[in-house]
Amino acid sequence: MTPNPTLPDELRLVEEFGETLKPTGAHPPADLRHRVMHAVRHDRSRGGLLPRTASWPAGARLAWRIGAPATVAATIAAGLIAGNVANVAGNAPAPPTAETSTPAPTGTPAPAGASGVLLLAAQHAEATPLAAARDNQFVYVESVEVRSKTGKDGKTRVEGPVRVRTWLSVDGTRDGLVTEDTGARTKLSGCRNGLRAETIDRPDTTPKVPCVPEPAYQHTDVPTDPDGLLTYLYDPADNHDHYVWILEPGSRKGRYVKISEDQRAFMRLAGLLWQNHSPAVQAAAFRAAARIPGVELRPAVTDAAGRAGVAVTRTEIGVREELVFAPGTYAFLGHNSIAAEYRVTGPEHTGQPPGAVDSVRIQDLGSMKPGTILQKWSILRTGIVDRAGQRP
């Protein structure tokens, strides 16, 4: 045999030897993914970084992510009510804010302006007729989203508006759906027989984990009185401190800043307004919002669809959360997250925080421009339909 002019050297031989040792299939064994993710899911008691209540994080993150891509909406739908119900049902000791029907004010009381807008919004919701919806139907939500993205170069760009259509299960047990005009489709795993898909990225192939259904047009588990709803937003079963992790571009180590209970309640309120469209729940939510210390009125804002509105806001750690209402009717339009002047009131930590981490941000503290849009979502119309994917 003639010698091959491009003969393998010893490294190439080792490589070829390795070829013969590869597994036959391209994929690891099917149960390995479940094994890993199951372990990950049950590992939360070990690390201080990890939220200790199993179902809390999705709800807590909500306001940050609600205008974000479809997969994010899926997380929201998957986590919010389940977390709350599980926590309310638990026997964990209540924090001081839950001992009275009104949380102890930690800031200034809501000004009359914000209270007034919220009262009118509550009255508008109360006057909205209750649609006839069967348990096996879906709430169709047509919305517009604007999102900011930070690229690898560290530059932030605003994307959108993107048209998003979401189908939320009326009783929370059916599989919902999110579609975008970008072509993205995400299934929302319904909670059937107490189980839903473990992860949002592959709901069809991932194993199931325990859950509590999150209805979109019922209020069996969500209070409809302002006192009850306020307690619900402050989540008495959750006695952990919560933090946002902030990284300045170019630096390697981030730091943790504590989020106040009031800000978290306000953020959960925005999430609730996305998840549950029952008029009674929404009315109670607006009355409860008026009692969260530190809310302010902002007379002229624009929602994701470009509509002018009046906003009730709460600002913390460099972000202003805005609930936007139509001037005149005070119908709820949507939610904005806007960059604000960075001011820290809560404790900061480097290294591991002593509580749960709710959200992660890359934020240039030196040159961050107040007014930059982080994200916005606004609702164009809602309706009741028979199937996910069907338009009214």
């Binding site: 050297d9 010893e10 031989l13 070829e16 030897f17 890993v36 974000a68 180590k253 040159s367």
Partner: protein
């Protein structure tokens, strides 16, 4: 360089690892990106019996250690290979025994196929037993470097990052491993075929 974003928007490994601090489910993305690669490598080194355990251990360790992930590295592959290598270390004896068994095994039977392909396979088969013996005889550190390059397809810099050793050390370990493999090939001429195979 101004503004704010949730890094869940960015899809680098680093961004996803950070997002998984608040939302452990996000870690599934890291699994889906690298499970096949890591499993293949583990399978090559310890076989089907051990590969599952090693990969599962490695992912769980990665998950627990994600708070210490160096965010200046967008690509998590070297980091994951580093963790996997440490997990493989506890299978050190089994891995060596496996190579030794291969070194003793009889070569495969008759080869069929196009002449060039057969020639390549003849070379590989001729070298198979001495190669297995050589891998069994290498020190752990040398073997890790050699196999991360040859089987893991990592660059020198990535190997250095994975094992937390200087790039120069990667080079010297790799040179030593290659020399030992050459020596072990002994009668087998890596640039051709040994006498008995002709």
């Amino acid at each position: 360089m101004n503004g704010v974003s949730t890094d869940t928007h960015a899809d680098t490994d680093a961004a996803i690892i950070q997002a998984s601090l608040g939302d452990p489910d996000r870690f599934a993305v890291i699994y889906d990106r690298y499970a096949a690669t890591l499993y293949r490598y583990a399978h090559q080194r310890v076989g089907a019996e051990g590969a599952d355990d090693v990969v599962a251990d490695a992912f769980l360790s990665a998950f627990r250690g994600r708070g210490q992930y160096d965010l200046s590295r967008p690509d998590a592959r070297p980091w994951l290979f580093g963790i996997l290598t440490r997990k493989l270390a506890s299978h050190h004896r089994k891995e060596k025994a496996r190579y030794r068994a291969m070194a003793r095994a009889a070569p495969d039977g008759v080869l069929e196929g196009p002449a060039d392909e057969v020639a390549t396979r003849v070379i590989a088969d001729a070298a198979r037993r001495p190669l297995a013996a050589a891998l069994a005889a290498l020190s752990r550190g040398d073997r890790d470097v050699l196999l991360l390059v040859a089987w893991g397809q990592l660059s020198y810099d990535e190997v250095a990052a994975a094992l937390s050793i200087p790039p120069g050390t990667v080079g010297s370990r790799l040179n030593r491993a290659r020399r030992k493999v050459r020596e072990a090939l002994g009668g087998v001429d890596p640039s051709g075929m040994s006498e008995e195979e002709r």
